[in-house]
Assembly symmetry: C2
DNA sequence: CAAAACATGTAAGTAGTTACATGATTAT
DNA sequence: ATAATCATGTAACTACTTACATGTTTTG
């Protein structure tokens, strides 16, 4: 959804070369956001053009290694993206990305969005529960039917988990998860 | 990851027109797998070429509406894909897709893959727990640090949830979630 | 000195998104 | 009749993936 912003935020946390970024996107970051080295180099090139990042003139070390840092315009762009890009319930990872941005250059007012998302997740959970009541409340079930129920259970458990998590996070963002 | 297979499986569950599929992918199916009508029509066209699906000659009803059904080759392709395409821990939705295929034309032996995935999810959960111990066991935390911990918590809770779910599903697939 | 890891890129192909386009049927 | 919904498609653009390509530095 937003590879350039993922890269900007990673660079805000620590200025890096394309190669370093590729490694970071394979380890810690990669657990929730992926990018190949081709994507990274392409985006870095574009963002230099745009003026969001610049190569740190590695004074002494005149090797071929290029370390990038985020410029003021890039920082502003991250803040703008966090504030003005509404996410949906399916953009879990993008929301975590916003939290990382908030940790790096915050506060950026992510609390409001968390509250909205809690509402949307609750609505979806209710939808799932209604389907559960309607289609899976009876007794005897065929194998196929039990599998279909398992798929729905995955959705239900996922929403419950997200809401549990949101309840933990809300106070950190200065909002209430009310009820 | 595999739009054509998602469409084939939806068609196995119920022969439909492109328009119907688009609606189904917006409702129930859309909660875990998305496809726009352009993708759907394009894939349907391709799959007719390949011989995986065919238009049901809507005898009487000679309107412009085209209902597609899955041919034997398409069915075989689904079975092949389910059996021969190993998924990673991040392909949650693709695994649910396999369960739907198994419910529709199973059994396809998905149990083995579930067992493998349980192992991989446990490994990832352990990695997260180690990071937790190493980086977040101390007391006093800054705001930024607490947010970083919240991101890690999301990962931990997600893995725990998946493992809980897998424990429910295992018996349906004839395998044990052992321990 | 050879292999592994470092480091950055181009090119081609595939998939996905967004915008445009058209016409038929159904309901008000 | 006119608006909404049904129904199917093309075209252009953007993003992503996979393969190719090249040279450097470090380590055994």
């Amino acid at each position: 959804m937003s590879t350039p912003h993922a890269i900007l935020i990673a660079l805000l946390e620590k200025p890096s070369s394309g190669y370093d970024l590729a490694r970071r996107f394979d380890r810690a970051i990669g657990y929730f956001w992926r990018a190949t080295h081709q994507q990274i180099y392409r985006e870095l090139g574009r963002m230099v053009e745009t003026g969001w990042v610049a190569v740190v003139d590695d004074d002494a070390d005149a090797t071929r290694r290029k370390v990038y840092r985020v410029l003021r315009a890039g920082r502003n762009e991250v803040a703008r993206w966090v504030r003005e890009t509404p996410l949906g319930v399916d953009d879990r990872n993008a929301f975590l990305l916003k939290l990382r941005a908030d940790a790096a250059i915050g506060p950026l007012g992510v609390g409001g969005e968390l509250v909205r998302l809690i509402g949307e997740h609750r609505a979806r959970l209710n939808t799932y529960r209604e389907i559960e009541q309607r289609d899976f409340s009876g007794r005897a079930s065929t194998d196929a039917r039990q599998l279909q129920y398992a798929i729905l259970r995955a959705g239900i458990m996922q929403e419950q988990m997200w809401l549990d998590w949101a309840r933990e996070v809300a106070p950190l963002l200065g909002v209430r998860a009310d009820r």
